[in-house]
């Protein structure tokens, strides 16, 4: 039986043009590794959106990183002031990874 340990999965839904900034902020929180997932549309306080590449400005991307409790806290602290003013959604959950592989 392979042993697993618990890490934190942080997901940030952000406008595509903001992704480089999110990557930068994550790096400054010590989170170097991440995966970007595409999205197709949605609905929020600011209304309905669709992945409308003509004016790519409103397409959104899901930034996902698996990190330690501390890493997650650092990134949350850095992002939470932005959540009020910027169109971001931040989700955190637990995830198990295989012990011995690096996820910090």
């Amino acid at each position: 039986m392979t042993e697993t340990i618990i890490r934190r999965r942080i997901e940030v839904l952000a406008d595509e043009p903001l992704i480089p900034a999110i990557e930068r902020i994550a790096a400054s929180a010590g989170i170097e590794h991440y995966t970007l997932l595409p999205t197709q549309g949605g609905m929020g306080h600011s209304g309905r959106w669709r992945d409308d590449q003509i004016s790519g400005a409103t397409a959104k991307v899901m930034f996902m990183a698996v990190t330690t409790e501390d890493g997650a806290e650092r990134l949350t602290d850095l992002l939470s002031p932005l959540l009020a003013t910027h169109p971001l959604m931040l989700l955190i959950s637990n995830v198990e990874v295989i012990r011995g592989l690096r996820f910090d």
């Binding site: 043009p17 600011s46 932005l82």
Partner: protein
């Protein structure tokens, strides 16, 4: 003339797309393809404009038209900002963001307008493509200045290279300017082997693109929560006033009627590709539903159907009088 313009297949496909969206049809052009056609249109416009400038050389008319375009793009956001604040009741940030869109230009409106002008014997000069390229960015600078006056700077999420970098290296700006330069370098001889793609196919590709634009604009209008009567009225009156100003300035500066009409189309059009991309970064608090709703869902359809013939009509009637 205006009626003829309305019955062009390009316009009809736009209307078809809009009707399909309003009828809640599931018709959709895959976004990857729509974006590629937008890139294609910019390459094509740039190459053909560059080719014509290579042919005529740098004339004083080019310099004059360029100066007019720069002036319009820098200055048009100012009265627009005032109108959006006073009449549109928008806050500073949103008014500045919208004003930047109306000072900048729409490449597809220009493309459709050029086809119409050509069809009615008022073909604009080739160098107007260079004017188009010149007009894309100055309005962004004015808009950002209007938004940031007296405001604390330094946003954690601001682009690393600075906003100026984002403004000048925006994808559509780079592609249009680059294609124009390639057109100048390649000349007629270099363009010939790629003309089947970048010239012959142009109008047909525009049809496919406008079908998608119709779908996108109408869906945006239906989803929109940001437009109200005031902003919708401004999205109709700003192009008319800006366009009339553009035509008049062009004629006063001595441009031929076709080129003056094209300048009017540029002045009257509102960006929905380059400017939103920069605004999303520069003014994330501004509401994209508002600025894209106005420029893409109201002003673009208006210009495509009524605006272009109107600017052409103004140019042909004022020409000779000024």
């Amino acid at each position: 003339m205006a009626v003829d313009a309305l019955f062009q297949p390009v316009v009809l496909f736009f209307l078809l797309g809009a009707l399909a969206a309003f009828a809640r049809s599931d018709l959709a052009v895959p976004e990857a393809v729509a974006k590629t056609i937008a890139l294609y249109l910019m390459m094509s416009i740039g190459l053909r404009g560059g080719g014509e400038v290579a042919h005529t050389g740098l004339t004083s008319a080019i310099l004059i038209a360029g100066a007019c375009g720069l002036a319009l793009s820098f200055l048009l956001p100012l009265p627009a900002f005032w109108a959006l604040r006073k009449l549109g009741k928008l806050d500073r940030t949103n008014a500045a963001a919208v004003a930047a869109h109306y000072g900048s230009v729409s490449v597809v409106t220009f493309a459709a307008g050029s086809e119409v002008l050509r069809a009615i014997g008022m073909a604009p000069a080739g160098f107007m493509v260079a004017v188009l390229a010149l007009m894309e960015t100055p309005a962004i600078l004015t808009g950002l200045w209007l938004a940031k006056r007296g405001q604390a700077q330094g946003d954690a999420i601001a682009p690393r290279g600075g906003l100026l970098h984002e403004t000048f290296f925006n994808g559509s700006v780079v592609l249009l300017v680059g294609s124009f330069i390639i057109g100048v370098i390649a000349g007629e001889k270099g363009f010939a082997p790629i003309a089947p793609v970048f010239d012959t196919l142009f109008k047909g590709m525009l049809c496919v693109f406008l079908l998608d634009m119709g779908l996108v604009a109408a869906r945006r209008l239906m989803d929109n929560r940001a437009l109200n009567l005031r902003t919708a009225a401004l999205a109709l009156s700003l192009p008319v006033t800006n366009g009339t100003l553009g035509v008049t300035l062009g004629l006063a500066a001595g441009l031929d009627a076709g080129s003056a009409a094209a300048l009017g189309i540029l002045a009257g059009s509102a960006s929905y590709i380059a400017v939103p991309a920069v605004m999303r970064l520069a003014l994330p608090e501004a509401n994209p539903g508002l600025y894209l709703g106005m420029s893409l869902a109201v002003t673009f359809p208006f210009n495509l159907t009524l605006g272009i013939p109107y600017y052409a009509w103004v140019a042909s009637h004022l020409h000779g009088m000024i």
